[in-house]
Symmetry: C2
Subunit: 266 residues, 2 copies
């Protein structure tokens, strides 16, 4: 947890330096709305360029040992502060294979380690960003494309981004991989159809078998297995009882791998 | 910077507790790929459900004083750890009004204070998520809708999200406001057209006046001013020289407001 302490120390340093800026602002000739008006909803600020400006955020930045890119925070600096590297863990697998369960458990476990992680899944994407998409082949492709772009934005901001969608087509996943680049980690939940169908936590397989859902992955629509997933989660074939490991255990295994791949430090 | 220290302390605590989980994993009966194979691209993990599993992430979580939602990190917990509240600062204004400059300067200044902020602007959205949109009325509306949804995802993950797009139509901005809710803060860069046109940093006004760009906001397409923006940045009319304040100064002013609105602590 060295990085968090470092960040705290670093932040204290700049806070100590920062009041200068805030102070000079108050004593400058710009007119800032008084504190009382902040209770109102709207705040108007009139800003003119005074003759002598001694507020210089970059100068404050330079007084630390971190090099700033003018006007933006570069990826390395951001990652150093968060002591992690932004990445996309792309969970793919059949419905009922445990993608979301493992992703949320992993998000939780990472947070416990002081890491910043976020799950993107059907709950927060299909009802929002992709609410105007249906389930045609074209819309499914666009669904995955948008999710890929959003996951890239999250990863570029330093987040460990956990993406959980069936994403059945290899071509769509590979396009995301190409866009996201080195920080893309495909996690294939390789759970046999019969195990997923037996679990059927949402009753979807039953509905699909009854013909109530058309084009269901694994039933009347294909699932194209990843050929080169970075992480493959399998049910034990020999010596095991054929059931799934608890999600905490899978999450812990993925954390080990993330650590060794260097994503949990910067 | 109290929160970062707290986070560091908190993180140390769970790290101390966590090795138990990692240790039990190694001694469990699951087969983890040895470290050497991690140098290879693909990692296969076979997970079975052992008879006695003593890895319980939730148990570890319970040993701290923070209440966990099973399998996910709730917003309050996330915000408490980051000592900030996720929000969307929506910068709107004419081309050349300084939206992106102020947004990036603010991102920088927030980062210096140990906050996690991220700018979403044309550079990272139009070429990615919205690369399949044009400039028709319909596409412009969808452009802002998607940006709004992504900014909501970022804010929900605890980020201070800085959004910089002209977003000329009131209806589109109001729809985002309705979606994002209380954490939406509209920042209107109220800079007169003549000032923006004189600055013309990208030469776009010149091109629009020459008829080389059609439907340009402020020239042959309307800009609908916000009626109830939370923050309005104006050029000084009296006593000022009519030019813009330096971005560092505007950013410092916005930080004061964010602080008073309670977004910089949790």
């Amino acid at each position: 947890m060295r990085s968090l302490r470092e960040l705290a120390r670093f932040a204290s340093k700049v806070t100590a330096a920062y009041p200068t800026a805030a102070g000079s602002l108050a004593s400058g000739n710009s007119s800032i709305a008084p504190a009382a008006s902040l209770l109102q909803r709207r705040v108007g600020i009139t800003m003119s360029a005074p003759a002598a400006v001694d507020v210089d955020a970059y100068k404050v930045g330079d007084s630390t040992n971190i090099k700033w890119h003018e006007g933006s925070v570069d990826t390395a600096t951001r990652e150093k502060a968060m002591n992690q590297k932004g990445c996309v863990l792309w969970f793919t697998g059949l419905s009922g294979s445990g993608k979301s369960t493992v992703a949320y458990t992993l998000e939780h476990a990472l947070f416990q380690r002081g890491k910043v992680a976020q799950v993107l899944d059907g709950d927060n994407i299909r009802h929002g960003l992709n609410s105007n998409l249906g389930f045609s082949a074209e819309d499914r492709e666009e669904n995955i494309r948008r999710i890929g772009e959003v996951s890239k934005l999250f990863a570029d901001s330093g987040m460990i981004t956990l993406v959980s969608f069936i994403s059945p087509y290899r071509k769509d996943r590979d396009q995301v991989r190409a866009r996201v680049g080195d920080k893309f980690v495909e996690v294939y939940m390789k759970i046999p159809l019969e195990v997923c169908e037996q679990r059927d936590p949402k009753g979807l397989y039953k509905a699909a078998r009854a013909g109530k859902i058309k084009g269901f992955t694994g039933i009347d629509d294909p699932y194209e297995e990843p050929l080169d997933a970075e992480i493959v989660m399998e049910v034990a074939k020999e010596g095991g009882d054929g059931t799934l490991a608890p999600p905490e255990k899978m999450a812990a295994a993925i954390i080990e791998i993330l650590e060794q791949k260097g994503f949990l430090s910067a």
